[in-house]
Amino acid sequence: MPTSVPIPTDVINWEILSEIVSMDEDNPDFSKELIIQYIDQAETTFAHIEAELDGSCDLTQLASLGHFLRGSSAALGLQRIAWACERIQNYGRKREGVVSGQEDDAHFAGLIRQTLEQARLEFAAVRRELSKFYHTQL
């Protein structure tokens, strides 16, 4: 069962990110530093997910990693990454990707691996767009 939640069209939900950017008034570079922190966090989390997939492949752990990155992605308005992370979280909980009900963990791990690749693509797109926005190579 593929997910019924469609992926958002825009890489970045500027309505949300603008709120963060507006905090720069009080705290210059606040949003930019936050984005840099996020990029670091996302790369780390992707690496953790990949390590988990290659290692013990604990679905619960994968789900919570997905949940973790989803929270910050959504908070920054990076909605397509957040979408992918939500998929990873739900596959890890076996709430999505169920076809017959007989699937083993490897089935969900496979789905997570696919989604991880997509998340990385979205991440690259976000970096490009934000680099443009901040006029810096992020």
């Binding site: 905090m23 009080d26 966090q41 929270g71 908070a75 920054l76």
Partner: protein
């Protein structure tokens, strides 16, 4: 006319049987449609049936129309003050045979109307339901005798000729040769430049007939259609709105000719929101006519209300005012203006006064010995005022911590951060927290479990329990709840008998485990827990609320909503913390008082007897 002196609306044998109005079970309805001359040709303009109540006036009907047409573009572009309800009267189309109908409409007032068009003497001393006013709008001819015929619009809508609408059957018995102005309607002509003053010519004009705003809808229906249920969709009343093509309302010389100053004219057709002028003498009228003609010929907004020179009716005019017209005009027009001057910006004093009417402010205000002025002053502040509260952010993701923290810093709200549920409970135990923003999915101890633990500790220590006797020594630990058995909810009001056993039990638990003892000076009330749920799913929300959270926000947290929650719940807590205010420990937070919302989901009623204590 004499034959009609005896006719009264209420007594009319023809009207009464048709009054099916007083069946409260049958909803009263009236058909209305937008003025077809004003709507865009592309717009759909169907008659709609609007329900109303027996006591509704035409103004109420307008409001019903707007609530019915809510979200339509028309409703967005117009407002209830900018529309009029009436119908198009095409007297010319049926000059002869409808005079009976005209009479029928006028019959309740006939006795007071003089036959002469030059000196129309309208009796204004009736109640609002019958004192329909004759008025004219944009045209001098309107001063000429009108033949406002309800028959005409149906001619227009239907086949010309004698169409048996209910109106035709209404009061056919009434006969009249001469057409006289009726006080029943405000009539507007659409052909402003004609100089025809005689009734015959005027009667060839199609003109608007507009009902007084305070006329009862039910009377309109009864008079026009012979009963509420007799109206058909084709007879729909017209909603006039936004009529722009108007000429200067009066020309001086014509007014002289007509001598209409004794009439009561209410011209508020096109933009009733705009300024009104109250004219109570011929001289003023003339002056105004000059002003309009010379200075501002395109002035569509001028609305004029004319009162008879010796008017002594039940308008809210101070009667001595009438003796010195020039002075009263300005006063009276101010009086008329102010309630209607919606566009006028509110002055700060007004803004400040509104919240002071809040009973809560008044109640809380007096013991604190700050006057209402202080509250008002606090409200004038344009910046959003947040209550002075301590917030605990429970979030495992540093990004989200940073966002929430930055937001709170920006609003000068003190906060601490916990990375997981365990830390959350520990930091809460330190005391002084008013509000916890709790992520639900946390490592070590989930937000749900942390919330449960906090609630258990609170009930174990009797925080937020209503104590019957103040400062009674044992009441400090008057809860009997064991951690394992959560049996508190049914014991919100503690009976003293049960207290003894339970207090002993609780004491035993607390003495065994000192870590569960909370300093009551630091815990005045149950902390407010707002769950931050990652998904929008109902199950997450339900779980959070069951665990003892008071509220939830869906992530990503919208900062506007967050600030609303902080205001709401923070003010709740500020109110709970009333005692410390009373002792002058938190003098600065008064502004938050009035903004607080009523408690809705507070798990246990806050107690005023809760002990004092400063915040850490």
């Amino acid at each position: 006319m004499t034959d009609k002196l005896t006719l009264r609306k209420s007594k009319s044998p023809l009207l009464v049987p048709r009054n099916q109005l007083l069946h409260s079970s049958v909803p009263l309805k009236v058909w209305v449609k937008l003025d077809s001359k004003s709507v865009q040709p592309t717009d759909i303009n169907q008659p709609i049936a609007i329900e109303f109540e027996e006591s509704d006036t035409v103004d109420d009907l307008k409001n019903h129309i707007f609530s019915r047409l809510e979200n339509t573009r028309w409703a967005l572009e117009n407002d209830a003050a900018g529309i009029c309800i009436g119908f198009w009267c095409g007297c010319s189309l049926n000059s002869g045979d409808n005079s009976a109908n005209v009479e029928a409409l006028k019959e309740p007032w006939q006795d007071s109307i003089s036959g002469s068009p030059k000196s129309v003497n309208v009796d204004l001393c009736r109640g609002p339901s019958t004192a329909w006013q004759l008025s004219r709008a944009g045209s001098p001819r309107a001063a000429a005798p009108l033949a406002p015929s309800p028959h005409a619009p149906y001619k227009k809508l239907q086949v010309p000729g004698q169409v048996p609408t209910p109106l035709n059957h209404m009061r056919i018995s009434a006969k009249q040769e001469r057409v006289t102005p009726s006080p029943t309607y405000i009539a507007h002509s659409r052909r402003p430049l004609r100089h025809a003053l005689m009734s015959k010519e005027f009667s060839q004009t199609e003109h608007q007939v507009i009902f007084e705003p305070d006329e009862l809808v039910i009377n309109v229906c009864n008079n026009l259609f012979g009963g509420v249920s007799m109206q058909t969709a084709a007879d729909a009343l017209t909603i006039f709105f936004n009529v722009k093509e108007r000429e200067p309302p009066f020309l001086e010389n014509e007014l002289d000719d007509l001598g209409i100053v004794d009439e009561n004219i209410d011209d508020n057709e096109s933009e009733p929101r705009e300024d009104y002028k109250l004219i109570i003498s011929e001289e003023q009228l003339r002056r105004l006519g000059h002003a309009i003609d010379e200075d501002n010929p395109d002035c569509h907004k001028q609305a004029i209300l004319l009162l008879p020179k010796n008017f002594d009716g039940d308008f809210n005019l101070p009667s001595p005012a009438l003796s010195s017209p020039s002075v009263t005009t300005s006063k009276a027009s101010t009086a008329v203006n102010s309630p209607l001057g919606m566009a006028a910006p509110l002055v700060e004093e007004e803004i400040g006064l509104v919240p002071s009417l809040d009973p809560r402010v008044q109640r809380e205000g007096s013991p604190l010995s700050f006057g209402l002025e202080a509250v008002s002053a606090a409200f004038v502040t344009r910046d959003k005022l947040f209550p002075r509260i301590n917030v605990l952010i429970v979030e495992d993701n540093v990004i989200n911590q940073a966002i929430l923290g930055s937001f709170l810093r920006k609003h000068k709200i003190a906060y601490k951060v916990a990375n997981n549920g365990r830390e959350a409970v520990d930091k809460w135990k330190e005391g002084g927290m008013h509000l916890i923003l709790m992520d639900l999915q946390l490592p070590l101890l989930s937000g749900v479990d942390a919330a449960k633990e906090i609630r258990q500790l609170e009930s174990l220590n009797g925080i937020g329990k209503r104590r019957i006797r103040k400062r009674q020594p044992p009441s400090r630990t008057n809860s009997s709840t064991k951690l394992s058995k959560r049996e508190t909810p049914h014991r919100k009001v503690v009976s003293e008998d049960r207290n003894c056993d339970e207090e002993a039990e609780t004491k035993a638990i607390l003495s065994k485990d000192k870590s569960k003892v909370l300093d009551r000076n630091l815990f005045k009330a149950p902390v407010i827990i707002v769950a931050l749920t990652a998904s929008n799913s109902e199950s997450d929300k339900t779980e959070a609320l069951l665990a003892g959270c008071n509220d939830y926000l869906t992530k990503p947290v919208n900062l506007d909503w967050l600030s609303n929650k902080i205001t709401e719940w923070g003010c709740m807590q500020a109110l709970i913390d009333f005692d410390s205010w009373n002792q002058g420990q938190r003098k600065k937070s008064t502004g938050s008082l009035a903004k607080s919302s009523a408690p809705s989901r507070l798990p246990a009623a806050p107690s005023k007897t809760l002990s004092k204590g400063a915040d850490p």
